[in-house]
Subunit: 240 residues, 2 copies
DNA sequence: GTATTCCAGCTTGCATGGAAGATAGCGCTC
DNA sequence: GAGCGCTATCTTCCATGCAAGCTGGAATAC
């Protein structure tokens, strides 16, 4: 049973070049996170470390340590002597998540709008180009592309602050809410409003008005939250 | 040798209590975190897992797994085949930390000010009592007590939101900045202003004015940051 | 004296086995 | 038939062994 058979025939995480030094723990972490994101491990599913280790072709130790990291990220819960529980997301979790996003992203927009004008312009250009991508996707009624552009916009917003802690927080939060966003993508209505708000955020950044940028970013997320939460409630999605 | 695990255990989802299981991993995590907080493990110190395991009276495995959690918390860095490095805090880290605090705590104050009036009053009372404790400590020139009351005020602010993710983020951030706060406690000047701002925050919450609460909380942290960062720079504290 | 090479001793990464706790099902008692 | 207790079996937890990588210093060549 000492199989060093790396790579389980199936493809790895897309976009992740494992060219660098790859530890089994990192492999396990990436694989499990991907499986949770694409719902291969459905919420509520209770897996055993042994089973996952077998599937990934490694021993229990790296799986166990990856599970600790995932638990720290809030994606799973390690139940002592019972197994690894894939966490579900309740509407109340989405409320929590949105409040964190509103706080962090508002500050992020404010900070970017306070940068020197050259950097502001560069950021605004990048943000606008993603908004344009959203418009085009909207015109084609291509919801997945719309969602991807939307995600890229907000990701870019955070990255421009150059605050590793903010990036990390948003990254974690996005992991947690990814499934909910995918599910509700088809149900959303206010795409036009969303695009307009994106333009507004980029505009306030270009102008260099921190207060307005803060207000615009907050407004955008507040509206999205007020659109999403009733949706989840009405569809009775108890766990996502 | 047995490290006494201090009372603050990482809490999870609200509603789940009765966690009194004692695992060695939890012991190691709590002990190492306490040692980092009180600078028994000074920043820059590089310990080996074997050595820590010996000191804690356990084997390497639980220490290793605790180190993973601490790394996830941003307190240490696990260097492959070199050891566990206790991370230092540079002034730029403090800038990052303050921006996260400004975003999160502002939203927290806003949310509390939007609660029903009975809960607002209860929160404001609790906050005011801690502010009073700060005043008394200030009158006695008891800086440690002042710092403790200040910490309790802000902790209470976050806890009243009942958002586990916010609590967790602030908890992590506070762990990281604890040493810097302790160091600069003796150097701070604007204690009167700080107390007045605390009163202001509690007042806006009592009144139930979310916008004012947001502004007051932000203003408080912005001023504290602008007081602290030059202090760190002028004293040439490269790593804390 | 200086530069280079190599090795001994450190470190963690990972696998694996034993131990203990939790659980479900079976058999026994009433 | 219903309830209770025992046990078989599953799970994680933790200790430990082995392998591999990195580092510092000794020994050698010049």
């Amino acid at each position: 049973m000492r199989a060093q058979s790396r790579g389980s025939e199936g493809e790895r995480v897309p976009g992740e070049e494992t060219e660098k030094r790859t530890s089994l723990v990192d492999d396990a972490y990436a694989a499990m996170r991907a499986n949770i994101r694409d719902a291969t491990f459905a919420p509520g599913y209770q897996a055993s470390e042994q089973e996952i280790a077998l599937r990934l072709g490694m021993s229990r130790t790296p799986v166990h340590e990856a599970a600790i990291r995932l638990q720290e990220d809030g994606l799973v819960r390690v139940l002592p002597r019972k197994g690894i529980l894939i966490l579900a997301l309740a509407p109340d979790d989405m409320r929590e998540i949105y409040d964190v996003i509103i706080g962090i992203e508002g500050r992020a927009a404010e900070l970017i709008a306070a940068l020197p004008s050259a950097e502001r312009a560069a950021a605004a250009d990048a943000l606008d180009s993603w908004t344009t991508a959203m418009e085009e996707a909207h015109a084609r009624a291509d919801l997945p592309a719309w969602g991807e552009a939307d995600g890229a916009f907000h990701n870019m917003l955070i990255e421009h602050v150059r605050n590793g802690r903010m990036s990390r927080i948003m990254h974690t939060i996005n992991d947690q809410s990814h499934r909910a966003r995918m599910l509700t993508l088809n149900l959303r209505r206010g795409l036009d409003a969303s695009i307009a708000e994106h333009r507004q955020i980029a505009q306030t950044i270009r102008t260099g008005d921190p207060d307005a940028a803060l207000a615009a970013a907050r407004q955008h997320r507040l509206r999205a939250r007020d659109e999403l939460l009733p949706l989840l409630a009405s569809y009775g999605l108890k766990h996502l």
